[in-house]
Amino acid sequence: MAGRVIVITSGKGGVGKTTTSANIGTALAKNGHSVVLVDTDIGLRNLDLLLGLENRIVYTLVDVVEERCKLKQALVKDKKNPNLCLLAAAQTRDKSSVSAEQLKKITDKLKKDYDFILVDCPAGIEQGFQTAIAGASEAIVVTTPEMSAVRDADRIIGLLEAAEGIESYKLLINRVRPNMIKSNDMMSVEDVENILSCGKIGVIPEDTGIITSTNRGEPIVNNEKSLAGRAYINVARRINGEDVPFLDIDEPKNFVGKLKKFLSNLGKHGKEQ
Protein backbone atom coordinates (compact mmCIF):
# COMPACT_ATOMS: atom_id res chain seq x y z
CA MET A 1 0.00 0.00 0.00
CA ALA A 2 1.41 3.35 -0.98
CA GLY A 3 -0.08 6.40 0.68
CA ARG A 4 -0.53 9.77 -0.91
CA VAL A 5 1.60 12.66 0.23
CA ILE A 6 -0.21 15.96 -0.10
CA VAL A 7 1.38 19.28 0.78
CA ILE A 8 -0.85 22.15 1.87
CA THR A 9 0.75 25.44 0.98
CA SER A 10 -0.09 29.05 0.17
CA GLY A 11 2.88 31.41 0.15
CA LYS A 12 1.05 34.07 2.07
CA GLY A 13 0.60 33.65 5.79
CA GLY A 14 -2.71 33.69 7.59
CA VAL A 15 -4.87 32.31 4.79
CA GLY A 16 -5.64 29.10 6.64
CA LYS A 17 -3.07 26.46 5.72
CA THR A 18 -2.93 25.01 9.19
CA THR A 19 -6.69 25.13 9.69
CA THR A 20 -7.13 23.40 6.35
CA SER A 21 -4.58 20.71 7.21
CA ALA A 22 -6.18 19.99 10.56
CA ASN A 23 -9.70 19.84 9.14
CA ILE A 24 -8.99 17.83 6.01
CA GLY A 25 -6.88 15.45 8.07
CA THR A 26 -9.63 14.97 10.63
CA ALA A 27 -12.27 14.57 7.92
CA LEU A 28 -10.22 11.93 6.08
CA ALA A 29 -9.62 10.07 9.32
CA LYS A 30 -13.33 10.18 10.10
CA ASN A 31 -13.97 8.52 6.77
CA GLY A 32 -11.82 5.64 7.92
CA HIS A 33 -8.48 6.45 6.29
CA SER A 34 -5.27 6.42 8.26
CA VAL A 35 -3.79 9.90 8.21
CA VAL A 36 -0.57 11.50 9.41
CA LEU A 37 -0.37 15.26 9.68
CA VAL A 38 3.19 16.53 9.42
CA ASP A 39 3.83 20.03 10.71
CA THR A 40 6.88 21.48 8.98
CA ASP A 41 6.50 24.96 10.39
CA ILE A 42 9.46 24.52 12.72
CA GLY A 43 9.71 27.28 15.30
CA LEU A 44 6.17 28.51 14.73
CA ARG A 45 4.17 25.37 15.13
CA ASN A 46 0.41 25.63 15.46
CA LEU A 47 -1.05 22.42 14.17
CA ASP A 48 -0.81 20.76 17.56
CA LEU A 49 -2.78 23.60 19.08
CA LEU A 50 -5.58 23.29 16.53
CA LEU A 51 -5.90 19.59 17.27
CA GLY A 52 -5.63 20.13 21.02
CA LEU A 53 -2.60 17.86 21.26
CA GLU A 54 -0.17 20.44 22.56
CA ASN A 55 0.32 18.77 25.91
CA ARG A 56 1.02 15.34 24.44
CA ILE A 57 4.07 16.14 22.36
CA VAL A 58 7.25 14.56 23.61
CA TYR A 59 9.28 14.02 20.46
CA THR A 60 9.15 16.17 17.36
CA LEU A 61 10.09 16.06 13.70
CA VAL A 62 13.54 17.37 14.57
CA ASP A 63 14.05 14.58 17.10
CA VAL A 64 13.20 12.04 14.41
CA VAL A 65 15.57 13.65 11.93
CA GLU A 66 18.36 13.79 14.48
CA GLU A 67 17.62 10.19 15.46
CA ARG A 68 16.83 10.76 19.08
CA CYS A 69 13.72 8.66 18.71
CA LYS A 70 11.96 6.32 16.35
CA LEU A 71 9.47 7.70 13.87
CA LYS A 72 6.66 5.73 15.52
CA GLN A 73 7.46 7.26 18.90
CA ALA A 74 7.08 10.78 17.61
CA LEU A 75 3.60 10.22 16.17
CA VAL A 76 1.02 11.64 18.56
CA LYS A 77 -2.36 9.96 18.34
CA ASP A 78 -5.42 12.17 18.21
CA LYS A 79 -7.65 12.25 21.27
CA LYS A 80 -10.81 11.16 19.49
CA ASN A 81 -9.76 9.58 16.26
CA PRO A 82 -7.27 6.72 16.45
CA ASN A 83 -6.77 6.92 12.66
CA LEU A 84 -5.23 10.36 12.94
CA CYS A 85 -1.64 11.01 13.97
CA LEU A 86 0.39 14.16 14.28
CA LEU A 87 4.10 14.56 13.71
CA ALA A 88 4.73 17.88 15.41
CA ALA A 89 7.38 20.42 14.60
CA ALA A 90 9.91 21.54 17.19
CA GLN A 91 9.16 24.89 18.71
CA THR A 92 12.64 25.68 19.93
CA ARG A 93 14.48 25.23 16.64
CA ASP A 94 14.30 26.78 13.19
CA LYS A 95 13.65 25.75 9.60
CA SER A 96 17.26 24.84 8.90
CA SER A 97 16.99 21.87 11.29
CA VAL A 98 15.34 19.69 8.65
CA SER A 99 16.49 19.39 5.07
CA ALA A 100 14.43 18.45 2.04
CA GLU A 101 16.06 15.02 1.73
CA GLN A 102 15.46 14.26 5.39
CA LEU A 103 11.76 15.10 5.14
CA LYS A 104 11.45 13.06 1.96
CA LYS A 105 12.93 10.09 3.78
CA ILE A 106 10.34 10.47 6.54
CA THR A 107 7.35 10.84 4.20
CA ASP A 108 8.55 7.85 2.18
CA LYS A 109 8.64 5.81 5.37
CA LEU A 110 5.18 7.01 6.41
CA LYS A 111 3.76 6.24 2.98
CA LYS A 112 4.14 2.52 3.63
CA ASP A 113 1.87 2.53 6.67
CA TYR A 114 -0.63 5.32 6.12
CA ASP A 115 -3.18 6.24 3.44
CA PHE A 116 -2.64 9.97 3.57
CA ILE A 117 0.29 12.10 4.66
CA LEU A 118 -0.69 15.76 4.83
CA VAL A 119 2.25 18.15 5.07
CA ASP A 120 1.48 21.53 6.56
CA CYS A 121 3.83 23.97 4.84
CA PRO A 122 5.17 27.15 6.45
CA ALA A 123 4.50 30.54 4.89
CA GLY A 124 7.06 31.93 2.47
CA ILE A 125 9.02 30.46 -0.41
CA GLU A 126 12.31 29.87 1.35
CA GLN A 127 13.91 26.74 2.68
CA GLY A 128 10.89 25.77 4.76
CA PHE A 129 8.71 25.64 1.67
CA GLN A 130 11.29 23.73 -0.34
CA THR A 131 11.57 21.22 2.52
CA ALA A 132 7.82 20.79 2.84
CA ILE A 133 7.18 20.07 -0.84
CA ALA A 134 10.12 17.68 -1.14
CA GLY A 135 8.27 14.48 -0.33
CA ALA A 136 4.90 15.41 -1.78
CA SER A 137 3.39 14.34 -5.07
CA GLU A 138 0.23 16.43 -4.80
CA ALA A 139 -0.40 19.94 -3.57
CA ILE A 140 -3.33 21.97 -2.33
CA VAL A 141 -2.81 25.70 -2.73
CA VAL A 142 -4.83 27.63 -0.18
CA THR A 143 -5.80 31.18 -1.04
CA THR A 144 -8.36 33.79 -0.07
CA PRO A 145 -10.23 36.06 -2.49
CA GLU A 146 -7.83 38.93 -1.89
CA MET A 147 -5.41 40.30 -4.42
CA SER A 148 -2.34 39.81 -2.22
CA ALA A 149 -3.16 36.18 -1.45
CA VAL A 150 -3.94 35.45 -5.09
CA ARG A 151 -0.63 36.96 -6.24
CA ASP A 152 1.28 34.86 -3.72
CA ALA A 153 -0.67 31.77 -4.75
CA ASP A 154 0.32 32.47 -8.35
CA ARG A 155 3.97 32.58 -7.37
CA ILE A 156 3.58 29.34 -5.43
CA ILE A 157 1.89 27.57 -8.34
CA GLY A 158 4.83 28.62 -10.51
CA LEU A 159 7.25 27.08 -8.02
CA LEU A 160 5.15 23.92 -7.72
CA GLU A 161 5.15 23.50 -11.51
CA ALA A 162 8.91 23.86 -11.51
CA ALA A 163 9.31 21.36 -8.65
CA GLU A 164 10.11 17.81 -9.68
CA GLY A 165 7.94 15.71 -7.42
CA ILE A 166 4.61 17.54 -7.67
CA GLU A 167 2.33 15.80 -10.13
CA SER A 168 -0.90 17.72 -9.56
CA TYR A 169 -2.10 20.73 -7.66
CA LYS A 170 -5.54 22.08 -6.79
CA LEU A 171 -6.84 25.33 -5.46
CA LEU A 172 -8.72 25.74 -2.19
CA ILE A 173 -10.40 29.09 -1.77
CA ASN A 174 -10.80 29.96 1.86
CA ARG A 175 -12.66 32.64 3.79
CA VAL A 176 -15.16 33.42 1.06
CA ARG A 177 -17.87 35.92 1.99
CA PRO A 178 -20.88 35.56 -0.32
CA ASN A 179 -22.35 38.86 0.84
CA MET A 180 -19.26 40.80 -0.14
CA ILE A 181 -19.07 39.04 -3.48
CA LYS A 182 -22.67 40.03 -4.15
CA SER A 183 -21.94 43.66 -3.45
CA ASN A 184 -18.83 43.48 -5.65
CA ASP A 185 -16.47 44.12 -2.76
CA MET A 186 -14.72 40.78 -3.07
CA MET A 187 -13.42 38.73 -5.96
CA SER A 188 -15.71 35.87 -6.76
CA VAL A 189 -14.58 32.26 -6.71
CA GLU A 190 -14.69 32.20 -10.51
CA ASP A 191 -12.50 35.31 -10.71
CA VAL A 192 -9.85 33.66 -8.55
CA GLU A 193 -9.97 30.52 -10.64
CA ASN A 194 -9.63 32.53 -13.85
CA ILE A 195 -6.73 34.61 -12.58
CA LEU A 196 -4.82 31.55 -11.45
CA SER A 197 -6.10 29.29 -14.26
CA CYS A 198 -6.18 26.38 -11.90
CA GLY A 199 -8.95 23.96 -10.90
CA LYS A 200 -10.44 24.18 -7.44
CA ILE A 201 -10.93 21.41 -4.94
CA GLY A 202 -13.01 23.35 -2.46
CA VAL A 203 -14.57 26.62 -1.42
CA ILE A 204 -14.72 27.35 2.28
CA PRO A 205 -16.98 30.13 3.54
CA GLU A 206 -15.82 32.52 6.22
CA ASP A 207 -17.01 31.14 9.54
CA THR A 208 -16.62 32.66 12.97
CA GLY A 209 -16.81 29.14 14.35
CA ILE A 210 -13.26 28.57 13.09
CA ILE A 211 -11.93 30.95 15.73
CA THR A 212 -13.75 29.17 18.54
CA SER A 213 -12.72 25.77 17.28
CA THR A 214 -9.08 26.87 17.03
CA ASN A 215 -9.15 28.16 20.58
CA ARG A 216 -10.75 24.98 21.86
CA GLY A 217 -8.34 22.77 19.99
CA GLU A 218 -11.04 20.92 18.13
CA PRO A 219 -11.29 20.92 14.32
CA ILE A 220 -14.51 22.39 12.97
CA VAL A 221 -15.35 19.27 10.94
CA ASN A 222 -16.44 17.74 14.24
CA ASN A 223 -19.24 20.30 14.28
CA GLU A 224 -21.88 18.99 11.89
CA LYS A 225 -23.83 22.22 11.89
CA SER A 226 -21.00 24.41 10.69
CA LEU A 227 -21.03 25.30 7.01
CA ALA A 228 -17.25 25.55 6.89
CA GLY A 229 -17.02 22.14 8.55
CA ARG A 230 -19.26 20.58 5.89
CA ALA A 231 -17.24 22.28 3.16
CA TYR A 232 -14.05 20.71 4.57
CA ILE A 233 -15.69 17.30 4.71
CA ASN A 234 -16.58 17.69 1.03
CA VAL A 235 -12.98 18.63 0.22
CA ALA A 236 -11.83 15.46 1.95
CA ARG A 237 -14.28 13.41 -0.11
CA ARG A 238 -13.07 15.05 -3.31
CA ILE A 239 -9.48 14.26 -2.39
CA ASN A 240 -10.59 10.68 -2.07
CA GLY A 241 -11.88 10.74 -5.65
CA GLU A 242 -15.58 11.19 -5.01
CA ASP A 243 -17.54 13.57 -7.17
CA VAL A 244 -19.20 15.90 -4.72
CA PRO A 245 -21.08 19.02 -5.86
CA PHE A 246 -19.86 22.30 -4.42
CA LEU A 247 -21.81 23.57 -1.44
CA ASP A 248 -24.12 26.49 -1.80
CA ILE A 249 -22.21 28.68 0.60
CA ASP A 250 -24.69 31.52 0.28
CA GLU A 251 -26.89 29.96 2.92
CA PRO A 252 -28.95 32.51 4.82
CA LYS A 253 -28.78 32.06 8.54
CA ASN A 254 -32.12 33.34 9.78
CA PHE A 255 -35.66 32.63 8.76
CA VAL A 256 -36.22 36.00 7.07
CA GLY A 257 -33.15 35.43 4.91
CA LYS A 258 -34.34 31.97 3.95
CA LEU A 259 -37.77 33.33 3.04
CA LYS A 260 -36.19 36.09 0.94
CA LYS A 261 -34.03 33.62 -0.91
CA PHE A 262 -36.96 31.30 -1.47
CA LEU A 263 -39.07 34.15 -2.84
CA SER A 264 -36.30 35.43 -5.09
CA ASN A 265 -35.76 31.93 -6.49
CA LEU A 266 -39.49 31.69 -7.06
CA GLY A 267 -39.37 35.02 -8.89
CA LYS A 268 -36.54 33.85 -11.14
CA HIS A 269 -38.46 30.73 -12.03
CA GLY A 270 -41.49 32.81 -12.87
CA LYS A 271 -39.51 34.99 -15.27
CA GLU A 272 -37.91 32.00 -16.96
CA GLN A 273 -41.26 30.48 -17.59
Binding site: G43, N55, R56, C69, K70, Q73, T92, N215, R216
Partner: protein
Protein backbone atom coordinates in the same frame (compact mmCIF):
# COMPACT_ATOMS: atom_id res chain seq x y z
CA UNK B 1 14.12 17.82 25.81
CA UNK B 2 16.11 14.68 25.29
CA UNK B 3 18.64 16.69 23.42
CA UNK B 4 19.03 19.07 26.32
CA UNK B 5 19.61 16.13 28.51
CA UNK B 6 22.16 14.79 26.13
CA UNK B 7 24.03 18.08 26.07
CA UNK B 8 24.98 17.66 29.66
CA UNK B 9 25.59 13.98 29.12
CA UNK B 10 28.13 12.24 27.04
CA UNK B 11 26.72 9.47 24.94
CA UNK B 12 28.98 6.57 24.15
CA UNK B 13 27.52 4.59 21.30
CA UNK B 14 28.60 0.96 21.26
CA UNK B 15 25.37 -0.29 19.72
CA UNK B 16 27.06 -2.12 16.86
CA UNK B 17 29.43 -4.22 18.94
CA UNK B 18 28.32 -7.73 19.80
CA UNK B 19 30.73 -9.08 22.39
CA UNK B 20 31.18 -8.06 26.00
CA UNK B 21 34.99 -8.16 25.85
CA UNK B 22 35.05 -5.96 22.79
CA UNK B 23 32.74 -3.46 24.52
CA UNK B 24 35.05 -3.15 27.50
CA UNK B 25 38.06 -2.83 25.22
CA UNK B 26 36.47 -0.12 23.08
CA UNK B 27 35.10 1.70 26.09
CA UNK B 28 38.50 1.89 27.79
CA UNK B 29 39.99 3.44 24.67
CA UNK B 30 37.15 5.97 24.47
CA UNK B 31 37.56 6.81 28.15
CA UNK B 32 41.17 7.83 27.57
CA UNK B 33 39.77 10.88 25.84
CA UNK B 34 39.82 13.87 28.18
CA UNK B 35 36.40 15.03 26.93
CA UNK B 36 34.78 12.22 28.83
CA UNK B 37 36.10 13.19 32.23
CA UNK B 38 33.71 14.53 34.90
CA UNK B 39 30.66 13.81 32.78
CA UNK B 40 27.50 11.84 33.08
CA UNK B 41 27.81 9.07 30.61
CA UNK B 42 25.00 7.45 28.71
CA UNK B 43 26.08 4.09 27.37
CA UNK B 44 24.38 2.83 24.24
CA UNK B 45 24.55 -0.92 23.88
CA UNK B 46 23.16 -3.24 21.27
CA UNK B 47 21.91 -6.75 21.74
CA UNK B 48 24.76 -7.91 23.97
CA UNK B 49 23.89 -9.69 27.21
CA UNK B 50 26.11 -8.36 29.97
CA UNK B 51 26.32 -10.07 33.33
CA UNK B 52 26.65 -8.34 36.64
CA UNK B 53 30.44 -8.61 36.84
CA UNK B 54 30.89 -7.17 33.37
CA UNK B 55 28.59 -4.26 34.01
CA UNK B 56 30.26 -3.60 37.34
CA UNK B 57 33.67 -3.47 35.72
CA UNK B 58 32.30 -1.01 33.14
CA UNK B 59 30.90 1.07 35.95
CA UNK B 60 34.21 1.11 37.80
CA UNK B 61 36.07 1.94 34.56
CA UNK B 62 33.88 5.01 34.17
CA UNK B 63 34.15 5.83 37.85
CA UNK B 64 37.94 5.71 37.50
CA UNK B 65 37.93 8.90 35.42
CA UNK B 66 35.55 10.80 37.75
CA UNK B 67 32.56 10.27 35.50
CA UNK B 68 29.28 8.61 36.35
CA UNK B 69 27.51 5.92 34.40
CA UNK B 70 24.17 7.70 34.35
CA UNK B 71 22.14 5.52 32.06
CA UNK B 72 22.35 2.49 29.88
CA UNK B 73 20.51 2.13 26.62
CA UNK B 74 20.17 -1.49 25.70
CA UNK B 75 18.06 -3.85 23.64
CA UNK B 76 18.95 -6.88 25.71
CA UNK B 77 16.50 -7.84 28.43
CA UNK B 78 19.25 -9.49 30.46
CA UNK B 79 21.44 -6.40 30.48
CA UNK B 80 18.43 -4.28 31.37
CA UNK B 81 17.69 -6.47 34.38
CA UNK B 82 21.30 -6.39 35.59
CA UNK B 83 21.54 -2.64 35.11
CA UNK B 84 18.36 -2.08 37.09
CA UNK B 85 19.66 -4.27 39.90
CA UNK B 86 22.77 -2.09 40.03
CA UNK B 87 20.64 1.05 40.21
CA UNK B 88 21.51 2.30 36.74
CA UNK B 89 18.78 4.04 34.78
CA UNK B 90 17.79 2.11 31.69
CA UNK B 91 16.53 4.19 28.82
CA UNK B 92 15.59 2.07 25.89
CA UNK B 93 14.76 4.81 23.45
CA UNK B 94 16.03 2.67 20.66
CA UNK B 95 14.32 -0.54 21.64
CA UNK B 96 11.36 -1.63 19.58
CA UNK B 97 8.91 -2.39 22.34
CA UNK B 98 8.62 1.15 23.69
CA UNK B 99 6.66 2.67 20.85
CA UNK B 100 4.15 4.53 22.94
CA UNK B 101 5.94 7.33 24.72
CA UNK B 102 3.24 9.93 25.00
CA UNK B 103 3.05 10.97 28.63
CA UNK B 104 0.12 8.88 29.61
CA UNK B 105 -0.90 10.45 32.86
CA UNK B 106 -2.03 14.01 33.33
CA UNK B 107 -0.64 15.55 36.46
CA UNK B 108 -2.77 15.38 39.53
CA UNK B 109 -3.80 18.05 41.91
CA UNK B 110 -3.41 17.43 45.60
CA UNK B 111 -7.11 16.68 46.00
CA UNK B 112 -7.10 14.13 43.24
CA UNK B 113 -4.04 12.55 44.74
CA UNK B 114 -5.60 12.37 48.19
CA UNK B 115 -8.66 10.75 46.68
CA UNK B 116 -6.49 8.21 44.97
CA UNK B 117 -4.50 7.48 48.10
CA UNK B 118 -7.71 6.98 50.01
CA UNK B 119 -8.95 4.49 47.49
CA UNK B 120 -5.68 2.63 47.61
CA UNK B 121 -5.47 2.95 51.36
CA UNK B 122 -8.65 0.97 51.93
CA UNK B 123 -6.67 -2.27 51.91
CA UNK B 124 -2.91 -1.74 52.09
CA UNK B 125 -3.34 1.26 54.29
CA UNK B 126 -0.07 1.42 56.12
CA UNK B 127 2.24 0.80 53.24
CA UNK B 128 0.99 3.55 50.98
CA UNK B 129 0.49 6.14 53.62
CA UNK B 130 3.76 5.85 55.43
CA UNK B 131 5.53 6.08 52.17
CA UNK B 132 3.68 9.23 51.26
CA UNK B 133 4.31 10.60 54.71
CA UNK B 134 8.02 9.97 54.58
CA UNK B 135 8.11 11.74 51.30
CA UNK B 136 6.14 14.63 52.74
CA UNK B 137 8.30 14.98 55.78
CA UNK B 138 11.45 14.97 53.77
CA UNK B 139 10.04 17.77 51.72
CA UNK B 140 9.08 19.74 54.77
CA UNK B 141 12.73 19.96 55.63
CA UNK B 142 13.59 21.12 52.23
CA UNK B 143 10.94 23.79 52.33
CA UNK B 144 12.72 25.14 55.34
CA UNK B 145 15.90 25.65 53.51
CA UNK B 146 14.49 27.02 50.33
CA UNK B 147 11.50 29.08 51.21
CA UNK B 148 12.77 30.85 54.26
CA UNK B 149 12.04 34.24 52.78
CA UNK B 150 8.37 33.55 52.38
CA UNK B 151 8.40 31.87 55.68
CA UNK B 152 9.66 34.82 57.63
CA UNK B 153 6.95 36.93 56.05
CA UNK B 154 4.19 34.47 56.58
CA UNK B 155 5.17 33.69 60.14
CA UNK B 156 3.98 37.12 61.18
CA UNK B 157 0.51 35.98 60.30
CA UNK B 158 -1.75 36.42 63.34
CA UNK B 159 -2.31 33.38 65.47
CA UNK B 160 -6.10 33.58 65.15
CA UNK B 161 -5.90 33.17 61.43
CA UNK B 162 -3.79 30.13 61.90
CA UNK B 163 -6.38 28.88 64.30
CA UNK B 164 -9.16 29.40 61.80
CA UNK B 165 -7.25 27.47 59.28
CA UNK B 166 -6.72 24.59 61.62
CA UNK B 167 -10.37 24.61 62.56
CA UNK B 168 -11.35 24.42 58.96
CA UNK B 169 -9.11 21.49 58.47
CA UNK B 170 -10.41 19.63 61.47
CA UNK B 171 -13.89 19.82 60.00
CA UNK B 172 -12.88 17.30 57.43
CA UNK B 173 -14.60 13.96 57.62
CA UNK B 174 -12.95 11.15 59.44
CA UNK B 175 -12.26 9.35 56.24
CA UNK B 176 -10.22 12.20 54.88
CA UNK B 177 -8.37 12.69 58.08
CA UNK B 178 -5.22 10.76 57.41
CA UNK B 179 -3.89 12.49 54.28
CA UNK B 180 -5.18 15.92 55.28
CA UNK B 181 -3.36 15.53 58.54
CA UNK B 182 -0.11 15.24 56.72
CA UNK B 183 -0.80 18.31 54.71
CA UNK B 184 -1.73 20.29 57.76
CA UNK B 185 1.47 19.32 59.46
CA UNK B 186 3.29 20.58 56.53
CA UNK B 187 1.32 23.79 56.45
CA UNK B 188 2.11 24.49 60.05
CA UNK B 189 5.72 24.07 59.33
CA UNK B 190 5.74 26.15 56.22
CA UNK B 191 3.84 29.00 57.75
CA UNK B 192 5.70 28.68 61.01
CA UNK B 193 3.31 28.76 63.95
CA UNK B 194 6.14 29.95 66.15
CA UNK B 195 7.86 33.24 65.30
CA UNK B 196 11.04 32.19 67.09
CA UNK B 197 11.91 29.61 64.55
CA UNK B 198 12.19 32.09 61.72
CA UNK B 199 14.70 34.17 63.63
CA UNK B 200 16.94 31.26 64.35
CA UNK B 201 16.30 29.90 60.96
CA UNK B 202 19.45 30.89 59.25
CA UNK B 203 21.69 29.57 61.94
CA UNK B 204 20.27 26.15 62.55
CA UNK B 205 19.72 23.22 60.32
CA UNK B 206 16.10 22.12 59.99
CA UNK B 207 16.79 19.03 62.04
CA UNK B 208 17.86 21.13 65.03
CA UNK B 209 14.74 23.23 64.85
CA UNK B 210 12.60 20.17 65.04
CA UNK B 211 14.34 19.03 68.16
CA UNK B 212 14.37 22.39 69.93
CA UNK B 213 10.83 23.34 69.20
CA UNK B 214 8.64 21.74 71.84
CA UNK B 215 5.43 23.15 70.45
CA UNK B 216 5.80 20.90 67.51
CA UNK B 217 6.11 17.73 69.54
CA UNK B 218 2.73 16.58 68.34
CA UNK B 219 4.02 16.36 64.82
CA UNK B 220 5.35 12.94 64.15
CA UNK B 221 8.77 13.36 62.70
CA UNK B 222 10.02 10.05 61.41
CA UNK B 223 13.68 9.21 61.33
CA UNK B 224 14.79 11.80 58.84
CA UNK B 225 16.87 10.54 56.08
CA UNK B 226 18.62 13.55 54.76
CA UNK B 227 19.46 12.00 51.48
CA UNK B 228 22.23 12.58 49.04
CA UNK B 229 19.67 14.19 46.77
CA UNK B 230 18.81 16.86 49.33
CA UNK B 231 22.44 17.73 49.78
CA UNK B 232 22.89 17.82 46.04
CA UNK B 233 19.93 20.17 45.63
CA UNK B 234 21.25 22.54 48.23
CA UNK B 235 24.71 22.62 46.76
CA UNK B 236 23.45 23.62 43.31
CA UNK B 237 24.15 27.14 42.12
CA UNK B 238 21.10 29.22 41.22
CA UNK B 239 20.41 31.18 38.10
CA UNK B 240 18.24 34.23 38.55
CA UNK B 241 16.32 35.43 35.53
CA UNK B 242 14.18 38.53 35.54
CA UNK B 243 12.28 38.49 32.29
CA UNK B 244 9.37 36.86 30.54
CA UNK B 245 10.32 33.60 28.89
CA UNK B 246 8.61 33.43 25.52
CA UNK B 247 7.70 30.70 23.09
CA UNK B 248 10.70 28.95 21.59
CA UNK B 249 13.15 30.08 24.24
CA UNK B 250 15.12 27.39 25.99
CA UNK B 251 16.74 27.75 29.37
CA UNK B 252 19.01 24.97 30.42
CA UNK B 253 21.06 25.20 33.57
CA UNK B 254 22.95 22.80 35.75
CA UNK B 255 21.53 24.12 38.99
CA UNK B 256 18.38 25.78 40.29
CA UNK B 257 16.50 28.33 38.24
CA UNK B 258 14.49 31.24 39.59
CA UNK B 259 12.42 33.16 37.08
CA UNK B 260 10.75 36.42 37.96
CA UNK B 261 8.19 36.69 35.21
CA UNK B 262 5.88 34.46 33.21
CA UNK B 263 6.87 31.43 31.18
CA UNK B 264 4.78 31.40 28.05
CA UNK B 265 3.56 28.28 26.24
CA UNK B 266 6.22 26.83 23.97
CA UNK B 267 9.20 27.63 26.15
CA UNK B 268 11.34 24.96 27.72
CA UNK B 269 13.03 25.26 31.06
CA UNK B 270 15.28 22.55 32.25
CA UNK B 271 17.28 22.56 35.45
CA UNK B 272 19.32 20.03 37.40
CA UNK B 273 17.70 21.37 40.56
CA UNK B 274 14.48 23.22 41.32
CA UNK B 275 12.56 25.55 39.06
CA UNK B 276 10.78 28.44 40.71
CA UNK B 277 8.62 30.72 38.60
CA UNK B 278 7.32 33.91 40.12
CA UNK B 279 4.52 34.18 37.60
CA UNK B 280 2.42 31.93 35.41
CA UNK B 281 4.19 28.80 34.23
CA UNK B 282 2.70 27.65 30.92
CA UNK B 283 5.61 26.09 29.06
CA UNK B 284 7.45 22.85 29.61
CA UNK B 285 9.39 22.60 32.85
CA UNK B 286 11.87 19.85 33.63
CA UNK B 287 13.25 19.95 37.15
CA UNK B 288 15.94 17.56 38.25
CA UNK B 289 16.93 16.91 34.67
CA UNK B 290 20.10 15.28 35.95
CA UNK B 291 18.02 12.65 37.72
CA UNK B 292 17.34 14.26 41.08
CA UNK B 293 14.03 12.87 42.28
CA UNK B 294 13.59 15.49 44.95
CA UNK B 295 13.65 18.45 42.62
CA UNK B 296 10.47 20.46 42.37
CA UNK B 297 8.70 22.94 40.18
CA UNK B 298 7.02 25.91 41.81
CA UNK B 299 4.93 28.62 40.25
CA UNK B 300 2.41 31.22 41.27
CA UNK B 301 0.09 29.60 38.74
CA UNK B 302 0.77 26.14 37.41
CA UNK B 303 -0.47 25.81 33.86
CA UNK B 304 2.47 23.92 32.42
CA UNK B 305 1.83 22.01 29.21
CA UNK B 306 4.13 19.32 30.50
CA UNK B 307 5.84 18.79 33.80
CA UNK B 308 8.88 16.60 34.02
CA UNK B 309 10.74 15.84 37.21
CA UNK B 310 13.78 13.58 36.95
CA UNK B 311 12.46 10.73 34.80
CA UNK B 312 8.75 11.29 35.51
CA UNK B 313 6.60 12.83 32.81
CA UNK B 314 3.12 14.22 33.04
CA UNK B 315 0.99 16.35 30.80
CA UNK B 316 -1.51 19.04 31.54
CA UNK B 317 -5.00 17.61 32.08
CA UNK B 318 -7.20 18.38 29.09
CA UNK B 319 -9.73 19.97 31.40
CA UNK B 320 -7.22 22.70 32.19
CA UNK B 321 -7.05 23.86 28.59
CA UNK B 322 -7.57 27.55 29.19
CA UNK B 323 -6.89 30.04 26.44
CA UNK B 324 -6.07 32.91 28.68
CA UNK B 325 -5.22 33.12 32.35
CA UNK B 326 -6.46 36.22 34.00
CA UNK B 327 -3.73 37.82 36.03
CA UNK B 328 -5.31 38.57 39.35
CA UNK B 329 -3.53 39.36 42.56
CA UNK B 330 -4.95 36.32 44.26
CA UNK B 331 -2.89 33.48 42.87
CA UNK B 332 -2.25 30.57 45.16
CA UNK B 333 1.29 29.37 44.65
CA UNK B 334 1.56 25.79 43.51
CA UNK B 335 4.28 23.24 43.73
CA UNK B 336 4.85 20.03 41.83
CA UNK B 337 6.85 17.14 43.18
CA UNK B 338 7.21 13.43 42.81
CA UNK B 339 5.23 11.26 45.16
CA UNK B 340 5.36 7.53 44.50
CA UNK B 341 6.62 8.04 40.97
CA UNK B 342 3.80 10.38 40.09
CA UNK B 343 3.91 14.11 39.69
CA UNK B 344 1.47 15.78 42.05
CA UNK B 345 0.72 19.49 42.12
CA UNK B 346 0.05 20.95 45.55
CA UNK B 347 -1.55 24.26 46.25
CA UNK B 348 0.66 25.74 48.91
CA UNK B 349 -2.36 27.29 50.58
CA UNK B 350 -4.77 24.40 50.20
Amino acid sequence: MEQLLNDSMYTVDLGNIDSAAEIIFRLSSILDNSEVRNKKICLKLGNVDLNQAQLLSIKSLIGGINSILASVDTKSVETERVALSLGIIVSNVSSENTTDVTPAEPYKTADEYIEQVQQEAVEPETAVNTEAQNENEAQVQQDYAEEHREQSEKSEQPQDEQQVQNDNNSDETAQEEQPKEEMRDELDVIFGSNPVESSIFNMETPQDIYEDNHEMDDIVVPEQEYTKEDIELESFPTKYIKQTIRSGQVINYEGNIVIIGDCHPGCEISAFGDITVWGVLSGIAHAGSGGNQKARVRALKMNAIQLRIANCYSRRPDSLNTVYIEKTNSFTPEEARIINNEIVVFKIND
